[in-house]
Subunit: 172 residues, 2 copies
């Protein structure tokens, strides 16, 4: 009985830590992307780079913001009901929630990475020039934001697998 | 007992159908993307569009090809061991497999969509011109390929949730 209680406490601690970390990484990713802006002078003309000019970056920001909000709600839910021990059915609902957030952030990160690579290296076949040579501050910020996005993806994947695994067990 | 047997038969049927559909959609997505090629004359100069010129399209193709192969293996596994009834632990392994394939195809589709949107509408802020006005055949093929990719994502999501759900039940 004591062993089961210890396992439950450990699991609750791991869930709480991972969710707090996810909130932090998604918040950082959103903030860094949404505040990335740079004005550069190219051939005497002013050029402005802003996250909202690229639909993939907008989607990335919204995806991370939504995941941040929903993960905060799930943490609150865990705080209120978790102490008494959740039933496997509740963990299955939590799994569905985490899977949705994982899918959302993963698609945002993949889209942002695809565009970020064109921004850095360009595409000579399509005639798309790289912009990072002139917009290094903007590109650096987007890269760090994407890195936080990748961390969120890993954390949400872990949370999904943990919730799916816990939904298989009998209430302790 | 008969009811449980019927449920098992129904579930095995659903699993088989969904996996065959996934193999078909991922194969179609890979084939359509890998054979998309067009040469157009723009301002008197020949321009060639090919999937391998864009890293996101290459990643999309490989992701779909890998998912196609692994889903075929999982179908074979289901054929060999499924008739006797799989244990919940086997379903949990199947869930992990489906989740990996889902993540892979989803990131491929998101990356391809992000680049596809730039190809269709361009990005005036970055100076990236749309290419679909001159490469309509290539763009149409990529769009249909992406549509198959989206179908694969939905199918793999369903398979993941089904496997996670079945991993919670006692062997029937």
């Amino acid at each position: 009985m004591e062993n089961a209680l210890n396992t439950q406490k450990f699991h609750l601690g791991a869930q709480t830590s991972l969710r707090i970390l996810t909130i932090a990484t998604t918040m950082a990713a959103t903030w860094l992307m949404m505040t990335s802006k740079e004005i550069a002078i190219v051939y005497g003309l002013p050029f402005e780079a802003k996250y909202s000019y690229v639909s993939a970056f907008k989607f990335f920001s919204y995806a991370n913001a939504i995941a941040c909000g929903f993960t905060a709600v799930s943490l609150l839910f865990l705080f209120i009901f978790g102490r008494k021990g959740l039933t496997p059915s509740w963990f299955f609902i939590l799994f569905l929630h985490d899977l949705c957030m994982f899918s959302l952030v993963l698609s945002g990160v993949a889209a942002a990475t695809a565009i970020g690579l064109v921004g850095r290296y360009g595409n000579s076949h399509a005639g798309w020039m790289p912009i990072c040579d002139n917009m290094s501050k903007f590109c650096k910020r987007v890269t760090i934001s994407s890195a936080f996005g990748y961390c969120s993806v890993i954390l949400l994947l872990l949370l999904s697998i943990m919730a799916a695994s816990k939904s298989r067990q009998i209430k302790v």
